[in-house]
Amino acid sequence: MSPHDDRLNAQRSTLTNALAERLAAGDAPLAELRDLQERIKLLDGVIAEQATRDQRRITALLWPLALVGFVLLVAASVPVPRVPLSLTLKASAVQLDLAEATLLGPLAVNADIRVEGFSTLESADPILVDAAAREQADSVSVQAAEMRLRALRLPAGASLGVEARRDAVTLLVESARAPVIAELEMRGTATLRVGDGALPLARDYPRSEWMRLVAGDAAKPAQAPPLVSLTLARRDGENVPLQISALKPTRLRFLERREGAVGEGSALASSLLGGTLTLPATGQTLALAAGDGLALDGLRPERFEIVAGTPLLIELSGSASGLRQRVGEFERSLKPSWLEYVSRHHLTQLLWGSAAVLWGALAWVRRQIGVFKS
């Protein structure tokens, strides 16, 4: 309260006391009483108007500070839409969603291959084609001196799972659209089993031979094909990992199905075995422990590689729109807020910008105080 207000209030108090005394005396002329009352009314009007003006000035003083506070609150609460990241980890399984049609291969696999889930087998070797037609085979196992996964063709929207076991790597393809196509090449002495009930076929391919396994009907792309699995079984004493690159996953999950005790069935659990997640936006480096949950959505990978040995080694750099870590029951988003992002990446601009905003706010406050004093 200003001295000006104090004087007005003191004056009003004096007049009120005088009016009360003069009324109590009982002999005061009516004109004098009316004069006192009129003065009190005038003072009330001035005091009320002064109070309203003060209220407005206080409000005007507060709003720039409130605005700065609000902006800071929003910037500290709202996460950035995309977060750049770099990820290196070990896992026993990974699931990738592939938004675009994808071609994987050619890959020299140096392993025995088993493919399940196809509906058509094509090859230049008529014995294989006949065997597949006779057995109505949906599976084939191939052992050959040289093996190559010539191509694994996945339609847009397919999901690819990669699982590593001690003795094999399995690729699982789930797609809502057809066809899913696996093309193999083999060379040398080969043993093939076309269909599960058939006898093994011994073949010799001094030059290469190809096999094309088609799941689903290419003429009916909307008809979902069955689950296709490719198992690449390591040979005794050999552990040459399969290198998978050039994939563009949009979503990553690290889950595996673990068998429970007898009668309990199976349950999904984290397949993570450990790793490091670096977030350049905040300068954070997070250690991921075995069993932690990690989910990445809206990925735009610049580099993505899987070395499918035992375990899988995964390297990823790019950006994601969703990044969540789960430890036990506790789940949190790892995306930084705008404030963290700006403070990390635009520190100089942030300092100058903050200084300018604060200077403006203080200048406003000083001006209001000056008006208030005058």
């Binding site: 049609a101 071609l103 050619p106 020299a108 094509e122 090859s123 230049a124 070797d125 008529p126 084609v129 040289e146 190559r148 010539r150 191509a151 063709r153 339609p155 066809p179 196509i181 093309e183 090449e185 060379r187 001094p206 030059r207 290469s208 190809w210 094309r212 290419a218």
Partner: protein
Amino acid sequence: MQLRLDSKSAARLLVQPQRSGPFYRVDAVLPAGQALAWDAAPMLAATGLRLVDLGFLGIVHVAASSGEPALLAPVVLGAAGSERGVATAVVRVSVAVSSVAWRSYRLGTGGGLASDWVTLPASQLFAWQRVAVTIPLPVDGRGLLVDVQAVGADDGQALPLLRFAIDGARNVAP
């Protein structure tokens, strides 16, 4: 010079020298059943190339996402009514190889009935060297699938098969 396709489909015509230089390239659309007149003399005079240095490729469609091999159409030089004889495919290897072999089978058979592998003579090649594969075309005008296989000179491992299809004017769609 008249260029025409031995195919009932239109194709993209690609003309390139079969040598590393000078770089020259022609892209054109070659309609089915129509001849394209092309005067190569100015280009040959300007580049110093000979007509035999040029390769002519008709691309009906490139390898699709379904994995079907690229469908190529032989380009016939000269007047209409020439005998259908052989197609010459020029293959260039990207690594040193110890041998190159090829085989063919009828288009539309879904594989099977492949010819025996024919190993090309003098096919031990340096990286980026070319070799010509002379492929007899079926006299009935049908198409062919061709597999070309090469064995790496360094490790003796087979390289991925090169597979392509040759269209024919009386080809039956697979």
